[in-house]
């Protein structure tokens, strides 16, 4: 009897062993399941993995591209679109979500795919250095700006409620914090001298004492603000503009100094080659950079990377005097660990802001 039991047990173990070794490929499911066939004749399918912000813009860009491609080659392109948070989307692609094209919020999320060996070409070689749209970190304030918030310096005043997402849960939220630090360290914030990390730290600690909600992402944060929570939301210009388009009555305040948000796009070589979609995938990425597509992005709150379109829309998107880029921090590969790593500058400020808790 015991031997029989043992057999059952051993058999089960064997099955488990087989399953575990078989699972080591580690495949994660995403919103869209795709079973692609190579491009054949009159029809081709393209899978786009994007972050959530430009969803509406792609809703207009994609039909334009389909018309363009049909006219040029006679081929019909069908699209499979997946929209997720940028970090989650990036990890999904790394784990086997076979997207031909990825459009994400920040460069670091493309770099992750590149490091996994799925993007093998120099994706930053386009005229826009791999970027498809821009925006800036800005503030959303209540109608009529009752608290008179104009610049970063106003955010550290007492008795203010600020919303900004947590940069640990949302890669995109790192833009907000870096916009703040960049402005501080360059001496663009009243009362804080340039290149004085200690003064910058003290300012951030004060500002953090005003932060009452740290949502897990930029969209949740602005939604909470729309619900009536808080006096200021640190967010992106495009989020405010899209909200206003949808009838929200909050106002946009662009500080005198802020960071230029740059959103990258790239063909995923491994998957595009596997699906035989390289040609159309590259054409799609190039199409995104044309004035036609760029105007659509501009309608949806995003600053254009095309000089012509940027000039046309300059009324809507005023130039920011103290604009800087991620290069100020030495790129994402340096900024993320420096500020948001375990001992990161921002993490330290967060610890200090909450001890002792004066709630």
């Amino acid at each position: 009897m015991f031997s029989k039991l043992r057999k059952t047990f051993l058999f089960s173990l064997l099955v488990i062993a087989l399953i575990t070794t078989g699972c080591s490929a580690n495949v994660t499911a995403t919103e869209v399941s795709s079973t692609e066939a190579p491009a054949t004749g009159g029809e081709v399918k393209l899978t786009l993995a994007a972050y959530t912000t430009p969803r509406e813009a792609y809703g207009e860009v994609i039909p334009a591209f389909q018309a363009y491609w049909k006219e040029k080659t006679g081929q019909t392109v069908t699209f499979e679109e997946s929209y997720l948070g940028s970090g989650a989307q990036s990890r999904a692609v790394v784990d086997g979500f076979e997207a031909d094209v990825v459009a994400l919020s920040l460069e670091a999320d493309i770099t992750r795919i590149e490091k996994a060996g799925l993007i093998t070409h120099d994706w930053k070689s386009t005229a826009s250095k791999g970027m498809v749209s821009n925006s800036v970190v800005a503030f959303a304030v209540r109608k009529g700006n009752p608290l008179g918030i104009k610049d970063w310096a106003d955010l550290a005043k007492p008795d203010l409620e600020i919303l900004t997402p947590n940069p640990r849960t949302s890669g995109g939220a790192q833009w907000n914090i870096l916009a703040l630090y960049g402005s501080l360290l360059q001496g663009k914030v009243a009362g804080v001298p340039a290149d004085d990390p200690e003064a910058a730290h003290a300012f951030v600690v004060n500002l953090l004492k005003n932060v009452t909600v740290m949502d897990k992402g930029a969209r949740e944060s602005i939604t909470n603000f729309e619900q009536g929570v808080g006096d200021v939301a640190i967010t992106y210009e495009n989020e405010v503009l899209v909200g206003q388009q949808a009838g929200q009555d909050y106002e946009l305040v662009i500080p005198s100094s802020t960071i230029l948000i740059q959103n990258p796009v790239a063909v995923v070589d491994t998957y595009a080659d596997k699906h035989g979609t390289r040609e159309v995938a590259e054409a799609f990425v190039n199409f995104l950079l044309t004035p036609e597509a760029q105007e659509i992005f501009a309608h949806h709150g995003l600053r254009s990377i095309d000089d012509g379109v940027a000039e046309e829309t300059a009324d809507q998107y005023p130039a920011v005097p103290g604009l800087f880029t991620i290069d100020y921090f030495g790129g994402w590969s340096k900024a993320t660990p420096d500020y948001f790593g375990e001992e990161g500058i921002f993490i330290q400020a967060m610890l200090e802001a909450q001890v002792p808790t004066t709630e």
């Binding site: 047990f9 099955v15 640990r168 849960t169």
Partner: protein, 281 residues
């Protein structure tokens, strides 16, 4: 949760095991292993892949440690309230007749079906600082509900409400009323009858329900992420911390904190199991 097994129905050791029994057992064991055991092993492996010391360091990082503490005390507070109110609810539903009883009885299970995210949104609408009730509490009493720990407790209370009620209810229905009637004839007050006769018979299901709801609460994410405010060191619970570590490529930290949560939940469920075994004797 193990239920009492009637010895008469269980197969005695001397009986021969049929092939069908062995087959069914193999299938359930494999199913259990694939669905639960292997994923758990993977998480444990992940959390300990750099050894005990690193695991210990990860769960003692100030933000992680605070998140675990916050999770534990909010869950404990919820458990306390849930134990008292769940017992009262079950008692009322079993012992009293009143209009709307069937409806209330049906509604008790609803928190299990509502996406916890919706629970969070609903609580923000009700208690948020911009709504009448929330504004009143904040302005008049200086008491912040939403985006603060009280909101976490409220959310946990909502989602775990069925656990205590539903574990007590069936047992309470089976309680023999004869003893109570006898006590009443002998002049015992309702209070004495409850404490001396009814309460001892439902103590174990009560503990069981309470431990279950505690175990359920430590892992709660959907509703808490909406209502807590998620400020590290103030209102960020462990499950939200875990999300942050996953998003920030610190899977080790995420797994380490998850292991702590799972171990606590497992401890609670084991205690509940052990109590039942003792009770059977």
């Amino acid at each position: 949760m193990s239920q009492a097994v009637n010895p008469a129905l269980s197969i005695t050791k001397k009986e021969k095991r049929s092939p069908s029994e062995l087959g069914l057992r193999s299938i359930t064991f494999i199913y259990f292993a694939v669905m639960i055991l292997i994923p758990l092993v993977v998480i444990f492996q992940d959390g300990f892949r750099e050894g005990w010391q690193e695991f210990w360091r990860q769960i003692n990082l100030p933000i992680a440690a605070h998140a675990i503490q916050l999770t534990l005390w909010t869950s404990a507070l919820m458990t306390l309230v849930n134990g008292v109110m769940g017992l009262a609810t079950a008692y009322v539903l079993v012992r009293y007749e009143f209009p709307g009883k069937r409806l209330i009885n049906a509604i008790v299970d609803l928190p299990l079906a509502i996406p916890t995210l919706v629970t969070g949104v609903m609580l923000v609408i009700l208690y948020g600082p911009q709504r009448a009730l929330g504004a009143f509490l904040k302005e008049e009493l200086g008491f912040r509900v939403i985006f603060a720990p009280p909101g976490i407790v409220l959310a946990l209370l909502f989602i775990t409400l069925p656990f205590v009620v539903r574990t007590i209810q069936p047992v309470l229905m089976d309680v023999d009323r004869a003893q109570e009637n006898a006590a009443a004839t002998l002049g015992a007050s309702n209070w004495v009858i409850f404490w001396r006769i009814v309460f001892p018979s439902i103590l174990l299901p009560l503990l069981n329900g309470v431990l279950l709801s505690f175990a359920r609460a430590v892992g709660e994410f959907g509703s808490v992420v909406i209502v807590a405010g998620n400020i590290p060191m103030v209102s960020q619970v462990a499950a939200v911390y875990v999300l942050g570590e996953v998003e920030s490529e610190n899977r080790l930290g995420a797994s380490a904190v998850s292991i702590v949560l799972m171990t606590i939940a497992f401890g609670m469920l084991s205690i509940s199991d052990w109590l039942y075994k003792r009770w059977e004797r």
